[in-house]
Symmetry: C2
Subunit: 218 residues, 2 copies
């Protein structure tokens, strides 16, 4: 029986990883798995896995472990993958096009319904049968189509403006690739993908490693 708890971000961020590993196990026809075995594969502790899962329900069985298919499906439900999501991409530059072309998201139930840009050279071009529209049509499009997730791939200077349009038109989820923080009401969820921050984290760690070169550990 699921408990009414506020789940910490730390737990939430591990869920997709569980889902990915269980999906692999499933494809390899593994029927059951213990928290210990899963822990060894993922690199978590068995204790953490059991704690994490027990935030959502009693999915396992003493003496047996977890049924892979069942757990996979349960985590799918938890992640909201039993429904579909309509999305639009704003900004059809490098990243926008890459995301638009990435068909794996379709398989998970994220359906791309529109692509917008302000560059006349891009407007009218199709990506996966979706014609790039003038961003001036965005607001109107959002009023006529229910969109769950707006994907922001514009330069940082324009990101907040696009976010404001999303908010105004009832889009509740924003996947933000612009290197800036957006301000939105609290009922709107923003998930950031800040590539430069990721790269800088890498360069920090590269130099930290250099620093300890020749020494043991780490």
């Amino acid at each position: 029986m699921p408990k009414k708890t506020i789940i910490s971000m730390a737990v939430i961020k591990r869920l997709p990883k569980y889902y990915r590993y269980l999906g692999e196990l499933l494809r390899n026809d593994v029927e059951r798995i213990s928290s210990k075995e899963l822990a060894d594969r993922i690199g978590f502790t068995a204790s953490q896995i059991r704690q994490d899962l027990n935030n959502f329900g009693d999915f396992g069985q003493q003496g047996y472990g977890y049924n892979v298919r069942f757990l996979y499906e349960e985590i799918g439900k938890i992640l909201g993958l039993t429904r579909t999501y309509n999305t639009v991409i704003v900004g059809a530059g490098n990243i926008g096009q890459a995301i638009a072309n990435y068909t794996n998201f379709e398989k998970l139930g994220f359906h791309l319904k529109g692509i917008f840009d302000r560059n006349p050279k891009l407007i009218g071009i199709s990506i996966r049968d979706i014609v790039i529209q003038d961003v001036d049509n965005l607001e109107n499009f959002l009023k006529n189509n229910h969109i769950d997730i707006g994907i922001i791939c514009v330069p940082k200077e324009q990101a907040q403006k696009i976010a404001d349009i999303f908010v105004r038109c009832g889009v509740k989820g924003i996947w933000n690739f612009a290197p800036t923080d957006l301000s939105v009401p609290e009922d709107v969820i923003v998930e950031n993908v800040h590539l430069s921050e990721s790269l800088l984290t890498l360069s920090y760690r590269l130099n930290e490693a250099e620093l300890f070169k020749g020494k043991t550990g780490r």
Copy 2:
């Protein structure tokens, strides 16, 4: 004077954000800033900012705060931005091309030296004056060019194979866009960008309210 401490991942991941905000302040000709003021802008606590910075040195001054330019430069040093990095991209599909075209990384000192793919239709094409080479040349290229960071943009099935080549050729940093976990020796740093995990986190949070609706606590 930097202290010999092991810095936690939580702190490291905040550093690029400090760097970004300080860069903005600098461009807006802000000369000094207190931890309180910076906290209000970023959305951290002043205490946390002071704690974070004091892992690396005494950058502030009582009664004054922090000099924006000085702190910006110091964090740049900490992040390893006083040197340059040679990079290669393996996989010239959607994401690979997007990263290759993203010139902001050049400005930070990350220089793209090569792009590799196995698709004959892509080999020979140029992106930003860099000719896409056959991935069969990768190992040879790495032996003749010092590459600091290898960027993996191939499908997940081939990612580990590419990582192995990187490791074998002395590449110490891997920026991994393939939706899989790589196994590498501990002196090699892997920074993952798992886009589907990010998207699933968003869909979880979009549905979170629904998930616990009507369920009783304990």
